[in-house]
């Protein structure tokens, strides 16, 4: 087992634990903290896949901005009542999730994926290469995304406004 494989297994184990904590903890703030940990671990996985730009953005946008928003709403609402447990539905959900996991793993390992990675050039994953791709090939989706963000912003202001 090589060093990169050991690193992958450590990260994967921690990520699975963090994801399970997000789902199974009862306190919402603890769930949010576990999600922050999971997002950081995914950012590190991005770094191991030669995507440093995306990894940094993951920490800035997800672990930074979006999680602050989540925590702000949790503190703002301050839900005091813990949710009720529903045994039968939980079992059903667990069975469905196991089936889905089996199907996904079967599908992803069924095909023969490229075993040897393409030799990545030095520029791969750099801001230059990404910007080149973003502003030539994907410029229309980029503009649509900006409109989407504007719509989301206006919508959030309208929804959050106290009606009179």
């Amino acid at each position: 087992m090589t060093g990169s494989e050991i690193l992958f297994f450590i990260l994967a184990g921690l990520l699975a634990i963090a994801a399970l904590l997000v789902v199974f903890q009862r306190n919402v703030v603890h769930c949010a903290m576990a999600l922050v940990a999971a997002l950081f671990l995914i950012a590190i996985l991005f770094l191991t896949l030669q995507a440093p730009m995306v990894g940094v953005l993951q920490i800035l946008v997800y672990a930074g901005a979006i999680m602050v928003l989540f925590l702000f709403v949790i503190m703002f609402l301050n839900p005091t009542t813990l949710e009720a447990r529903h045994g039968l539905w939980r079992r059903f959900g667990a069975i469905m999730a196991l089936l889905l996991a089996g199907a996904l793993v079967a599908v992803t390992t069924n095909d023969n994926p490229p075993a040897d990675p393409v030799a990545a050039t030095e520029l791969f994953g750099s801001p230059e290469a990404l910007a080149q791709s973003l502003f030539t090939e994907f410029v229309l989706p980029f503009e649509i995304a900006s409109v989407l963000l504007l719509v989301a912003m206006v919508g959030a202001v309208v929804l959050g406004k106290r009606e009179r």
Binding site: T2, S4, A12, L15, A16, A19, V22, V23, C31, A32, L35, I42, L45, T48, L49, A51, V54, L57, Q58, V61, Y62, I66, L69, V73, I74, F76, L77, P79, E83, W89, R90, G93, A94, M96, A97, L98, L100, A101, L104, V105, T108, T109, P114, A115, P117, V118, A120, F124, A129, L130, S133, F138, P141, A145, L148, L149, A152, G155, L159, G160
Partner: protein, 100 residues
């Protein structure tokens, strides 16, 4: 070098945990967090394929997923706040006025 299938299996597992959260939790905020988890699992798949196919397209796609996820979180949380003002609860079971 770690094989591609390892990353795909890991991301399938994380996605499933997110689905499990959406299925069994009765808290709207945790529901949204589980959806973020699922989006991140898909992001991991995009990045893994982008690395193993040597194409930047997957990484650019992750930017768009992040933008959509940010918009989704903002709107979702705004709706949660609006609903909480009326019902004083985060239980999705309490919001079935339109249910047939």
């Amino acid at each position: 070098m770690v094989p591609l299938s390892y990353y795909l299996i890991l991301s399938a597992v994380i996605f499933t945990i997110g689905v499990l959260g959406v299925l069994i939790r009765r808290n709207l905020i945790v529901l949204l967090m589980s959806i973020e988890l699922m989006l991140n699992a898909v992001n991991l798949t995009f990045i893994a394929f982008s690395r193993f196919l040597g194409s930047t397209g997957g990484q650019v796609m992750v930017f768009f997923v992040m933008a959509v996820a940010a918009a989704e979180a903002v709107i979702g949380l705004a709706i949660i706040i609006a609903v909480f003002r009326h019902r004083q609860t985060l239980d999705p079971q309490a919001m079935q006025l339109l249910k047939w």
